[in-house]
């Protein structure tokens, strides 16, 4: 099966300058489990574009590092 990698505008943005290396709060609360830590940088990022724009990640982030946008297709 041939597969390609596609560029996608993802809804969740993380301000890396604010993201704490030891924290995983957003990752733990996301009902869709779409956030993860970049093993290289220790910063959170959106790993899968599967978002309900429900906002627990944003609400539980201790440093306000997260911004959830409405996904592009319905924005």
């Amino acid at each position: 099966m041939a597969l390609i990698t596609q560029r996608i505008d993802v809804p969740v943005l993380v301000d890396e300058s604010k993201c704490l290396e030891k924290c995983t709060a957003c990752i733990e609360v996301c009902p869709l489990d779409v956030l993860a830590k970049d093993p290289q940088t220790g910063k959170a990022y959106m790993k899968y574009d599967e978002c309900w724009f429900c906002l627990p990640c944003e609400k539980e982030c201790p440093t306000n590092a997260i911004t959830v946008q409405i996904p592009f297709l319905l924005r």
């Binding site: 099966m1 609360v29 009902p31 489990d33 599967e50 309900w52 609400k59 946008q69 297709l73």
Partner: protein, 571 residues
């Protein structure tokens, strides 16, 4: 990535699958009834913020509070709104037990709106009675429940997705699933199992094309519907779809239940009202459909006539609770309640007894037709049950399950069954370059729109059914790179099962009922003589999907359905 396919074994007395609204309550109640019993919640996400009420709720839709309404009035109203197809004894429970449920929630710190005298401040949204209790500060509902789960010493395993209930010797004896992060196989032995996995919210495809922009929390993909079916339990009213009037594209509630009592209402493009009641029902949805097809659409929730204080108050509620991202959606389009109506549309279809009636058959004790298997919340068929109904049936399921299992032992799960299920689950991981779940899901759900979205007709439904049956072969070609993708693959299996059930049940009932929910162009009239009954379905001994009629249980509250037909059209 290192994916472990080892097996983790667990043992408990009561297993609750899905720790949302109904599930957390079921577990707490089982523990209250017997603090020595072991109760385990198995949750695909994390119970702190999972399910429909992840960000709270802006109101209780079905609160029967003494002095405002009676359980009998409530049963009557729900019976009429469902064209008579209800098991009244089950609906009655929500009417009778809602009040003490609200009081218990309040004692845990959940806030409900009160008037100056300290009484619950109920609003009328339904056609006749006052059942809507606002919760302007309802945003932390789930964290409060999580605290109670811990306080009651319920065991919780997050990030494990159940895929099948194990049934042996005629009763439910556990479940299997896998860890959606580490990947390992999980087997839980239990004496009773309670399914609380919510709606099938990912059935139709949203018009935006974004798979997860559903009304329901998209983690709820019909998991429990499918698991109950494979466990041999009966499902009912599946042809009575969930279809909601939602903010176009955003696909969340606009929300007339909050704004209606402040003076907002649904109108056509000309600003005229065409329905006299904003309570969601199939009959209301049919009026919406007719209006949109008459050239008078689009329809909107209109607030422009309200004063500044009122609009700010509505914004305060809508932008803090339930679906708080509504605010940024409107802002992104440069829309404001003061100057713009909120454009609404008819949603794609889903299955949900919280809003309509489609679900796993349960009696008034939350028992399914399989001994030891209980169901509560959106997936259990107690029509229009909403959040309080989920709490009430969670309570009932928890207390009954713990009592039922007293003299029972664990049974060792059949090895062959476990191996077969393990092989089924891990197929996509063994072919990582198979077709991605996103494409497979998109096509399946587009067909759901093409062939199942009402109005329905037999030729269309039949093509849909054939496509869904053949789709088994397509599912076999799915590939996954990691346990997360595997979770989505297994959800697509659940969605396919629900699509087949929805097609078959819709074909079987050869009449129209519940307004738009089951509007058949080839049988446009209601036919009480032949169809005043439930349509139930189950997996028979040969493994085939069998449909049959189930008689309506005798009513406990008299209703004259000929005198009191549900009609909300403005003429």
């Amino acid at each position: 990535m290192n994916i472990s396919t080892n097996t983790q074994w667990m043992k408990t007395d009561v297993l609750v699958i899905g720790g949302g609204t109904a599930g957390t309550m079921a577990a707490i109640k089982a523990k209250q009834a017997n603090p020595d019993g072991d109760v385990l919640i198995l949750e695909k996400a994390n119970i702190r913020r999972s399910g429909a009420i992840a960000m709270g709720m802006d109101g209780v839709n079905t609160a029967v509070i003494p002095g405002h309404s009676t359980p009998e009035q409530y049963v009557r109203e729900v019976t009429i709104a469902n064209d008579g197809i209800v098991n009244q004894k089950a609906v009655y429970q929500t009417g009778k037990l809602g009040y003490e449920t609200i009081q218990e929630l309040e004692s845990w710190g959940v806030k409900f709106q009160k008037d100056a005298q300290g009484n619950y401040d109920l609003k009328q949204v339904h056609r006749v009675g006052k059942y809507v209790l606002p919760m302007p500060e309802g945003k932390d509902l789930k964290t409060i429940l999580t605290r109670q789960v811990k306080r009651h010493k319920v065991n919780v395993t997050n990030r494990v997705m159940a895929t099948r209930v194990i049934v042996q010797e005629g009763r439910a004896i556990g479940a299997v699933g896998f860890d959606v992060r580490a990947g390992h196989f999980v087997v839980i032995q239990a004496k009773a199992v309670i399914l609380c996995t919510g709606a099938c919210g990912r059935l139709g495809l949203p018009e935006s094309g974004y798979l997860y922009s559903t009304y329901e929390n998209p983690t709820n993909a019909g998991d429990g519907y499918s698991m109950a079916y494979h466990a041999g339990a009966e499902l009912t009213n599946i042809e009575c779809f969930q279809i909601n009037p939602l903010i176009k594209d955003y696909n969340g509630p606009a929300c007339a239940y909050v704004a209606g009592p402040f003076g907002a209402h649904t109108t056509n493009a000309e600003g005229h009202r065409f329905i006299n009641c904003d309570y969601w029902s199939g009959q209301m949805m049919l009026e919406v459909w007719k209006e949109l097809n008459s050239g008078k659409g689009p329809i909107q929730l209109k607030m422009t006539h309200l004063d500044e204080d009122t609009i700010s108050e509505i914004e305060r509620v809508l932008w803090a609770n339930e679906r708080p991202s509504r605010e940024r959606f409107h802002a992104g389009r440069g829309e404001d309640y003061r100057t713009h109506g909120i454009e609404m549309n008819i949603s794609e279809i889903g299955l949900c007894s919280g809003h309509s009636a489609s679900g796993v058959w349960v009696n008034e004790n939350a028992e399914t037709t399989v001994p030891g298997l209980y169901a509560a919340g959106d997936l259990a068929s107690v029509p229009h049950n909403y959040m309080i109904g989920a709490f009430v049936f969670g309570r009932i399921a928890g207390t009954h399950a713990i009592e039922y299992l007293q003299d029972l032992d664990h049974l060792a799960p059949d090895r062959e069954f476990l191996e077969a299920e393990k092989a089924r689950i891990y197929t996509p991981l063994n072919q990582p370059n198979g077709i991605p779940h996103t494409q497979i899901e998109y096509k399946l759900r587009r067909w759901v729109n093409d062939y199942l979205q009402p109005p329905k007709s037999e030729p269309k439904l039949a093509i849909g059914l054939q496509n869904f049956i053949r789709y088994h072969e397509t599912l076999d070609q799915m590939g996954a790179h990691d346990p997360h993708e595997l979770m989505r693959c297994m959800e697509v299996h659940f969605i396919r099962d629900c699509a087949e059930m929805a097609a078959r049940a819709s074909i079987y009932r050869r009449e129209s009922r519940w307004g738009l929910y089951h509007y058949r162009l080839d049988f446009p009239e209601k036919n009480d003589e032949e169809w005043f009954c439930h349509v139930n379905l189950k997996k028979d001994e040969a493994g085939a999907m069998r449909l049959f009629k189930r008689a309506i249980e005798p009513y406990v509250v008299d209703v004259d359905l000929h005198q009191e037909a549900y009609d909300v059209a403005v003429r």
